[in-house]
Point group: C2
Chain length 205, copies 2
């Protein structure tokens, strides 16, 4: 299938066939696409928790307006944003300098610029900025699922605080969007895609 055909094939699956599991090598491919997603300054201020445990999925469904996508899915990918930007910048420069202090010194100007950027943002702006980066990764995960003919359903309707507690996530990592994945149930209805027309979405200059 071509890329556009893949994207047309996918739809927001409401009920998965809970007997069909997404194999671990497929999950790894989806996560590799997530890892390759570009982000602002390369900081990747996000974390993905892959939930496969049935008991936990059932519990999480209760924090998601009881939507059956969660409990019937094979795995739920919980996308969180990170707010520990300064620590992230430190880790980033440790990583790209290979721990070599002299190499790092040579990038001092760049590091200072990034730190100034982080310090210029309010807590709310940081959360919003980091969440946007997670959404690029979400886009890559969605496209990857379509490529592998794995069904998925992005969801924002859930109690983030309850998820955070149930997943024992630290203070600096907060859930923002879910992607249950699996294979569609025969009882699910594939509804026609509704999209605004091109004249609404695009213009040329």
């Amino acid at each position: 299938m071509s890329f556009i055909k893949n994207l047309s094939w996918r739809y927001a699956t409401k009920i998965f066939d809970s007997n069909k599991k997404v194999e671990s090598d497929h999950v790894e491919k989806i996560l590799e696409a997530v890892r390759l997603a570009p982000t602002s300054f390369g900081l990747q201020p996000f974390h993905v928790t892959v939930v496969e445990n049935q008991e936990l999925k059932d519990k999480l469904q209760g924090f998601s307006w009881n939507q059956p996508q969660i409990g019937t899915s094979s795995q739920v990918l919980v996308f969180s944003y990170r707010t520990d930007v300064l620590a992230r910048i430190n880790t980033y420069f440790e990583m790209i300098s290979g721990g070599n202090e002299e190499v790092r010194k040579g990038m001092e100007g760049y590091e200072t610029m990034m730190k100034n950027f982080a310090e210029s943002m309010s807590e709310e702006k940081i959360a919003s900025w980091a969440a946007r980066q997670a959404y690029i990764a979400l886009g890559f995960a969605l496209a990857s699922c379509a490529e592998l003919e794995i069904d998925s359903c992005p969801m924002e309707g859930f109690d983030a605080a309850a998820y955070k507690e149930a997943l024992a996530l630290p203070e600096n990592i907060t859930p923002v969007v879910l992607l249950p994945i699996g294979y569609r149930s025969e009882s699910d209805t594939v509804r026609a895609k509704v999209r605004f027309p091109e004249t609404d979405l695009f213009s040329n200059k």
Copy 2:
């Protein structure tokens, strides 16, 4: 190429070959991927302005820290978020009811729920929510470019207010991220991809 190989191939292109143009059928494919991107409630609260005019690109470069990606690109895709959510919901229900009042009445509960959702958000929350949806579309555009072996460079560093004025965008449409596209210049340096390790990005439950 496989999807993962496509994504590995791409990099944040700093200088494009300004003599090489992305053909219009390729631009259309990228926009079709953008159009197919799923969004919260299907509201697609974004707009993409495709800038091809060289004089305008040169002007915009001045509002983008003078980064050469803008002026040397074949086209700049300016992703904006929309804040006119209630009007958007109206248009959405007009669209899916085909203008039939009775059909629309049958969906009244769903329409009210969506309007309550929109009205529950502050202006800042709406902006943040709408921008996140634009970023899913950005992810689809990036993946589409990689699929077509078109170079690209997502950019957040620009003066959104100056862009808004230069593009004559209405009050309810605000630029949030840019995607210049084209073909890499021979003088550009392809740098190795830097990514945080899997143990940092992912965990299992």
